[in-house]
């Protein structure tokens, strides 16, 4: 999908109007951002916003996150184990300390 984020009042207004006029192309609308369908028309709307508002518009192409393809097993397992922890107030740092689960600081440094 195409994620369009606006960074000025005027760009936000244009996005709002575009979303109102082209509901079929809008997957979801947030305050000043929207997810557009990945069709040529979605691209057309995104290009128009970029033409009119230049750097006040950020456009990203998103795709579904598949944790089995995109994240290492250690990360998946750590997430599952942490969500299954007995004490809800334990922060992850403490939970992971002294275990085989990955260190949060190290995870922050490693790109997917």
């Amino acid at each position: 999908m195409l994620l369009v984020v606006t960074y000025s009042r005027r760009a936000r207004e244009t996005l709002r109007n575009a979303c109102r006029a082209h509901e079929e192309t809008v997957v979801r609308r947030f305050g000043r951002a929207a997810l557009l369908r990945e069709t040529e028309y979605g691209a057309f709307l995104a290009c128009r916003l970029r033409e009119r508002h230049a750097a006040d518009v950020q456009i990203e192409r998103t795709e579904p996150f598949n944790e089995f393809a995109d994240a290492p097993e250690s990360v998946r397992e750590a997430a599952a184990a942490y969500e299954d922890r007995e004490s809800p107030s334990t922060p992850y740092d403490r939970f992971a300390a002294g275990t085989e689960y990955p260190d949060p600081a190290a995870m922050r440094e490693r790109e997917l």
Binding site: Y7, S8, R9, R12, R32, A54, A55, D56, Q58
Partner: protein, 314 residues
């Protein structure tokens, strides 16, 4: 109804050179008045100076914020009542609890200048990265094709016991083409990496610069919120007086009693709003009034007294 208008008369110099002095100038009689464009007259009042050789000139105190809302009073006058009431309160110097917030919000926004993003450069980098990618893909296919041919020729040469010089030459040519294509692919791949890295760098910079824009849009929203609050407080401050003036004006213009005021035609309310706004506003620059409005008040003097504003009747 401060009596201010009487202390601030005005002078209207007509295109023919004659000068008429307010607080009330009646242009209904005579050729000059009828030839005068309403638009030019209003511009002269607003700008306070001649706007052209044939244009009228008005010397009067500067029109306040309310003036624009009631610059012309006629039966078809339309008014944005809330905006006009906020202007009345502003002209009166009404203070609201949100004034300081508004000033502060405006100041924050003024002093905030988000880092520039060179959009042209970014667009250029996007195009180069896309082109370098396409070129690399094209050359990769070319290398695969040529490599296939070299392999085929080599195998054919090996099978051929009595190799002719032509066959050797064919293999050599194909090998040259392959090394040429491979070299170009490697160059294109290098360019692609460079273009991709440059784009990544510029995008990262743009992302950082957008943090500043994020702040700016919050500041703009805050300013708008403050404005809305100030406007609401200003409207509140003069609302009672406005409604009283409205009721009085309805009684005055239509000669109706209070209970019957809702029997007015539906297109009249905005006109009555405009009259009531003019009545309660401190207006110093002349208001252009239509003759039939003056008639509804029972004459120029009565209209002047009621509206408490300098008038040009035409």
């Amino acid at each position: 109804m401060t009596g201010s208008s009487a202390e601030s008369p005005f002078a209207l110099r007509l295109p023919d050179g004659t000068v008429q002095r307010g607080p009330v100038v009646d242009l209904r009689e005579g050729a000059v008045g009828t030839a005068l464009s309403l638009h030019r007259l209003r511009r002269a009042i607003r700008d306070g100076r001649p706007t052209g050789p044939e244009a009228p000139a008005v010397s009067s105190p500067p029109p306040g914020a309310t003036h624009a809302h009631v610059a012309r009073l006629a039966f078809d006058t339309r008014i944005r009542t809330r905006a006009a009431l906020a202007a009345v309160a502003f002209d009166r110097g009404v203070e609201t609890p949100h004034d300081d917030d508004l000033l502060e919000a405006a100041r924050s926004l003024r002093s905030h200048s988000p880092a520039p993003i060179d959009d042209g450069e970014l667009r250029d980098a996007r195009r180069k990265a896309a082109e370098a990618g396409a070129e690399t893909d094209r050359l990769r296919e070319r290398v695969a094709t040529v490599r296939g041919r070299v392999t085929a020729l080599r195998e054919a040469a090996a099978d051929d016991a009595r190799r002719s010089p032509e066959t050797d030459e064919g293999v050599a040519d194909a090998e040259t083409a392959l090394s040429d294509a491979t070299r170009r692919l490697s160059e294109a791949a290098t360019e692609r990496v460079a273009a991709t890295q440059r784009l990544k760098l510029l995008e990262a910079q743009a992302r950082n610069a957008r943090d500043g824009r994020n702040t700016r849009i919050s500041l703009e929203d805050r300013l708008e919120n403050c404005r809305r609050k100030v406007r609401a407080a200003r409207v509140d401050a003069v609302s009672d007086e406005f409604h009283a003036a409205r009721r009085e004006t309805v009684r005055r213009v239509h000669g109706l009693d209070e209970a019957a005021s809702d029997a007015l035609p539906t297109d009249v309310p905005e006109f009555v709003d405009a009259l009531a706004v003019a009545r309660i506003a401190p207006i110093r620059a002349p208001v252009v009034v239509a003759g039939d409005v003056v008639g509804a008040f029972g004459g120029a003097d009565a209209a002047f007294e009621w509206l408490d504003a300098p008038l040009v009747i035409c």
